[in-house]
């Protein structure tokens, strides 16, 4: 894997507050990296600093091993990038005029530019809107135009700043799937800021979780989802159950962790007496009616009562009190099958391998 972009000791300070503080970050050629995190985590600022739209207060940015500096070098660097914002920010001209604008800025002649942008118009399904005024476009059409404009200059790195946040779900779905195809085809290095972890999971090779301007964790989606480095990342990536406990016993591969009087077996390493945090993703919790006839392979079987059932479309979120608070996702179908109601008694189980352990004292 070739490193295309690297940030070292990158700091952005504005109005006395530290907005971005990134020790070391590498972006590999051809990958799609998502920056996720809550509002104010510094995703947008980091994007702007990496693209040199905002001058970093300290640190270094290396593009293909070369430091991006002042003056002409910045312009040269910026001309290898493209950026798409949450708002389409189209110019007051035709669709094709917008898509050609990056080329025009680079001094490409009109007929040459037309030839270059044609495949982009096709790619994003806006060829039929070619001569329409940008003023008359719908939100989705406008964002497609904005994406085509970015791809028209064949950027070496594409920056996306919450590009789908303002779109309604069906439009969003269709644009995301188109972008997915285009990225697979062009292998354009992409850095995308988003607060939607599903979007990040779907499009990304790697995910960086940001908090307070720092990168808390940067890794493959599966790792970030299943093995978050800390409680913050765990809760942000959708781990509903986060339990604090103490290691009671250990063996070759497993730990017995005491949580609020219950014992939970998990796979991992640790010392007896060590404080740990257990992360359980809701989809890994299995529910059953506690009549003694149903057996599961799980060793961690807990009896409890259903506190609350919250519908989430295809799923229902079921909150269980079993000595500690456990959250499970159940398909609507299963919910009806088991005829679960709030206040029912229930048996919940989790495989030891599906529980992630975070050692509080650090590894």
């Amino acid at each position: 894997m070739t490193t295309i972009l690297e940030a070292k000791n990158l700091k952005v300070i504005r109005g006395g507050s530290l907005l971005v503080d990134v020790l070391d970050m590498e972006i590999f050629e051809g990958e799609t990296l998502s920056l996720i995190g809550p509002n104010g985590a510094g995703k947008t600022t980091l994007l702007q600093a990496l693209s040199y739209l905002m001058k970093p207060s300290a640190g270094e940015i290396l593009f293909r091993g070369q430091t991006v500096g002042a003056g002409q070098r910045v312009l040269e660097y910026r001309r290898k990038l493209a950026m798409v914002f949450q708002e389409p920010l189209l110019f007051d001209t035709t669709v094709i005029g917008n898509v050609m604008s990056g080329l025009k800025i680079r001094g490409v002649g009109a007929s040459e530019a037309r030839r270059i942008v044609e495949p982009q118009l096709e790619r994003f399904g806006i060829a039929h809107l070619r001569d329409r005024s940008a003023r008359t476009l719908s939100g989705g059409e406008a964002q497609r135009t904005s994406l085509a404009r970015a791809f028209a200059i064949s950027p070496e790195i594409l920056f996306l700043d919450e590009p789908f946040a303002a779109l309604d779900p069906p439009t969003r779905e269709s644009i995301v799937s188109d972008l997915e195809k285009v990225l697979a085809e062009t292998k354009t290095t992409t850095i995308m800021a988003t607060h939607d972890r599903n979007e990040a999971l779907r499009l990304s090779d790697r995910i960086a979780v940001m908090e307070g301007g720092r990168i808390a964790q940067i890794d493959r989606p599966a790792v970030v989802m299943n093995r978050p480095v800390d409680q913050f990342v765990a809760s942000f990536v959708g781990t509903e159950t986060i339990l604090e406990g103490e290691v009671r016993d250990t063996n070759e591969t497993a730990l017995i962790v005491g949580v609020n009087g219950s014992e939970i077996e998990v796979v991992g390493k640790g010392r007896i007496g060590e404080k740990v945090v257990l992360c359980i993703r809701p989809e890994n919790v299995t529910l059953a009616i506690p009549d003694g006839t149903v057996k599961t392979s799980a060793r961690n079987a807990f009896r409890g009562r259903i506190g609350r059932i919250v519908p989430l479309g295809l799923f229902h979120k079921v909150e269980i009190a079993c000595g500690f608070a456990l959250v499970a996702y159940v398909t609507t179908h299963a919910l009806e099958d088991l005829s679960l109601k709030e206040g029912d008694e229930i048996a919940a189980s989790v495989k030891a391998t599906a529980i992630h352990v975070i050692r509080k004292s650090g590894a």
Binding site: Q48, S51, L53, L75, R78, R79, L81, A82, M83, F85, E87, P88, L89, L90, F91, D92, S101, G102, I105, R106, S133, A134, R135, L137, G139, A142, R149, I153, F159
Partner: protein, 232 residues
């Protein structure tokens, strides 16, 4: 009532027969106010753009100064320009009092704050991220300013129109610094005042109708611009 009806009828005849005097005054008014607007455009757009796109200490004060200037009374401008241009005044050596140049100067002073204020508003009305988007497309600073001006072209046209509308309909400064000299510094407004006082209501009404037509054309453009939407 007779005077008015007769006046309108004669005015109509003067207009459709392209009366040389009425036409001459109209053409001269366009030249003076057009040139003044052009000059104010140069200063107003530059200052408006700079103030809109930069941050500096005292910026609020400058903006409030510009907004006050938009309501500068033409007679006050006329008075000060006259005093400065008197033979024995500080700029008397220019010897331009009672010339078209003096009228252009006064009208440019009146129009500049108007153009500046509206340019400022026009540039500020663009989405703030637009500047980042333009830079992200690889533009230099200069290219960015050019694209921003292009983006704000319709509101900027409104600035032109408002400035032009302000000076072509202005009478106080023109009569003071121009002197309403026949065939030399006589414009639509000063001629209207004089012809009314002479009792030549027909010519006065004809000139008034021309002024109204200008006002209508200017407002038509302004309304069109205001009701237009920006792209997303």
């Amino acid at each position: 009532m007779d005077i008015i009806l007769e006046g309108i009828l004669k005015a109509f005849i003067l207009l459709v027969t392209f009366d040389p005097e009425v036409l001459g005054i109209t053409w001269f008014s366009l030249k003076v106010s057009g040139t003044a607007t052009f000059i104010s455009l140069f200063f107003g757009m530059s200052v408006g753009t700079v103030v809109a796109l930069t941050q500096f200490p005292g910026r609020k004060f400058v903006v409030s100064l510009i907004n006050t200037g938009m309501a500068l009374p033409p007679v006050v401008v006329g008075l000060f320009v006259t005093i400065f241009l008197w033979r024995n005044g500080p700029l008397g050596f220019l010897e331009i009092l009672y010339t078209p140049a003096a009228m252009i100067l006064a009208q440019a002073i009146i129009a500049t704050p108007i153009v500046t204020g509206i340019s400022l508003a026009a540039m500020q009305q663009l989405p703030r991220k637009m500047r980042l988007q333009i830079l992200a497309l690889g533009a230099t600073r200069l290219q960015m300013v050019r694209i921003l001006i292009r983006e704000a072209r319709l509101p900027l046209l409104a600035a032109v129109m408002a400035g032009f509308g302000g000076v072509i309909s202005e009478v106080g400064a023109s009569i003071m610094v121009g002197g309403n000299i026949k065939g030399y510094t006589r414009v639509l407004t000063t001629a209207t005042v004089m012809e009314t006082s002479r009792g030549n209501f027909d010519i006065a009404i004809a000139l008034g109708i021309i002024l109204l037509l200008f006002a209508y054309a200017i407002n038509l453009v302004l309304t069109t611009v205001q009701q237009r939407e920006r792209p997303r």
